[in-house]
Amino acid sequence: MTINRRNLLLSGAACTGASVFGFASLDEAFAQATGRLTVCLYPEPPSLMLGLTQTTPAFIVAGKIYQGLLTYDFDLNPQPGLAKEWSVSEDGLTYTFRLQENVRWHDGAPFTAHDVVFSTQECLPEIHSRARANFASVESATALDDHTVEYRLKTPFTAFLQVFEASGAPILPAHIYKGTDYRTNPANESPIGTGPFRLKEWRRGEYIHLVRNEDYYKEDLPLLNEIYFQIIPDSASRLVALQNGTVDVTGYDNIDYVFMPAIRESADFGITHDGYQFAAPLATLEFNTRSGHVADKRFRKAMLHAIDRDFIIENIWFGQAAPATGLVSSPTRYYKDTGPLYPYDPGQATALLDEMGLQPDANGVRASVKLLGIPYGDMWTKLGEYVKQSLSQVGIDIQIENTDPGNWASRYSNWEFETTFCFWYQFGHPGLGITRLYHSSSIAKGIYGSNTAGYENPEVDRLFDEAIREIDEEKRAAMYGRLQEILIEDLPNAPLFEIKWATVMRKGVKNVVTTAIGICEGFETATVE
């Protein structure tokens, strides 16, 4: 290992923790610092160009290559990214960002305000559906000088400061993409970003290798020399990889929930549930409320009453989940704790079914409902089986339809289902995460992530529209609170639980989870011993 300032800093960082970790000397800490981190990755991302693909695995890798203007702390407050300062005008219509200076693209070209304007106004609105929606209220974006960008909005959009992380609005190099076909630009294969790491090699099916950006604008950072993302398709192999030290970090559900209690017991690993606040996925039982029994909200309530969600959390998710109280998950802004609703109570469920006039036939069956199984892993399959069994006790006969991912997404978005499961990223703000799911203007056949339930409530529409424009923080919070109360009463979808993904780190791994986007963050200060 050659000695340079960075390595000294690295050993210094290790040394501050020397008392905690019991290093005899600085030398020992020095000797243990390897500068190479290996992260488990599955599935393999289709591409690393974050403007074109926003799958989570792509974000995990490309979040170190590309950067957004902002990132978010665990409470979802904006933190500096490529923007070092920002301000909002009193009328909520003008947002001004001061950009970091001395930032260079990986090819050496300087990064300026023009890249920001190009990305958020020209490129992303054409290729990135979430960015298209998030920047729709922008009237103009102007580079006031090389390091200042000003956005003028048509109407207030109070979620605006929440849309700038690297997956929602990755800043792309204008000098490479401007005037080209973004989708076929050869640079998509060798992404050029401003991030602390650059792509060295991608061996498909095997690993992705990132190396330190020696030109990074923050002196002495990043601390790591290189990051490997090892692609491991089999869940038992991922566990072995973690246990024998082949990988240092696993995230999301890469370790089967069934193994998590054992990992939790082990002294070799650290576990955190932080870093998922931005996604904060909420698992739901989804209804197609257009027809059949589930069109009646009494039936939907009866179903929720007949499902023991605590049982699911304990026995199927092995504690990697928490009860949901509504259709917005708790880390999200403006979340309102409406208290435990629709508790497990088969008596209540049968009372509701009685009220609907659904009487048991000779076999004890009151109603028959199809459940489109979601093919996203064992737990979801088990969840379907549990729900089937549980609902049979109140006389609801569930017929499970099995699918594969391609078929599921297609049938779901085209409304070819009665009930199914899903889980929804919240993107930190109800205006970004759930408006799209319950606003009547968002009912669109064939579109994934739209109002698939077919839910229409004029008051909900009005509240969504007004809340996002409301400048007054308190009034806005009250509106989103009211929305959550209405939604839980109408129950267009049934909240089941908040998924608590876990990042597992081998002892000695530091600073991989520092913000609300967790291991998708840039790993500027991450270290490994």
Partner: protein
């Protein structure tokens, strides 16, 4: 001879075109399309997103037009473009080829050598304890599912004994001379190759064993023995050449699977081969990549069938004569 060759070429072309059309129809029969998969993975989409992807994937055209375009492209050697991964299909397949061939090729040689050797041994020593042991082992080889065998081998040799790596094709970031790197890959190769071979070793042993036993009691062997030939010569020249025929036919079948790789073994051992590429493409409805894999695989199967025929003709004069 020339006429026969020409006939064969036409036959091969017919088979290929049929394979392409059938597969094209088959993959389209699976409900769902790549656009819905991408939208599902992304977690968000809108009408413009779906429309632009459909256009890019050329799913907006009628299916017979798509098939026509595809056939024309394949005829010029163009296997198409993966819009999901934004790379040519041929690249995606070629970069998986070395890993696939290394794994399946090693398994092929391993199973042939071990299978034939133990088959000869068992066939010559029928009824002894050695033979009985082999027969029992063969039963295991047949019956064990590859994923289970793979996991057990990992548990024993990687987790408990820590002799061999559990998965992957090389140690990440390993640097050394080419020789050390080759040794590193070889260490990674052991478990997947053994897992993949187990079934075929059992198969070859069984076939070779009964074949040796059959040939042993045939007249020409008795004659050879009566002529006072050495045991070594009887076994090596007269017996094996005849006993090997069914094994060669079987090996031809296994060789056909060389290119296709093995989805199960590649998944368990995180081996970056073509089987995983095919499975991922199927799940993600990447029609072009899947069709590309099918085409490359069928060409290989056809080629290996021809090679098998030639080898059989060399080994067995009766086939040679019948062909002439």
């Amino acid at each position: 001879m020339l006429k026969a060759g020409l006939g064969r070429v036409i036959k091969v072309l017919m088979v290929l075109i049929t394979v392409i059309i059938c597969n094209f129809a088959l993959v389209r029969l699976a409900p769902g399309d790549p656009v819905s998969v991408i939208a599902g993975e992304t977690g968000a989409s809108d009408a413009a997103f779906v429309a632009s992807l459909r256009e890019e994937f050329q799913l907006d055209k009628p299916i017979h037009v798509q098939l026509g375009t595809y056939l024309a492209n394949v005829a010029t050697g163009d296997l198409g473009y993966s819009y999901r991964q934004r790379r040519p299909v041929a690249d995606l397949i070629w970069e998986r080829m070395p890993a696939t061939l290394l794994l399946t090729g090693t398994a092929f040689v391993l199973s042939l050598v071990v299978g034939v050797a133990s088959g000869i041994f068992a066939g010559l020593k029928r009824g002894t304890w050695g033979d009985n042991t082999l027969v029992v082992l063969c039963l295991f080889g047949y019956a064990l599912p590859a994923f289970w065998l793979g996991l057990v081998l990992v548990l024993i040799f990687s987790v408990w004994l820590q002799w061999l790596p559990a998965f992957g094709m090389q140690t990440l970031g390993f640097t050394g001379t080419w020789w050390e790197q080759a040794a590193d890959v070889a260490r990674h190769l052991v478990l997947p190759a053994v897992t993949l071979s187990a079934y075929y070793i059992a198969l070859y042993t069984r076939v070779m064993r009964s074949s040796v036993a059959d040939v042993q009691s045939s007249d020409f062997i008795k004659t050879a023995r009566a002529r006072g030939l050495s045991r070594r010569r009887i076994i090596g020249v007269h017996m094996l050449r005849n006993a090997a025929l069914p094994v060669i036919t079987l090996a031809g079948v296994q060789a056909g699977q060389l290119i296709g790789g093995s989805i199960v073994v590649e998944t368990v051992f995180a081996w970056p081969g073509i089987g995983r590429l095919a499975l991922d493409s199927l799940l993600q409805r990447e029609y072009m990549v899947l069709l590309g894999v099918f085409i490359v695989t069928s060409v290989m199967v056809i080629a290996l069938n021809i090679i098998t025929d030639i080898i059989l003709a060399i080994v067995d004069p009766r086939i040679r004569k019948a062909a002439a």
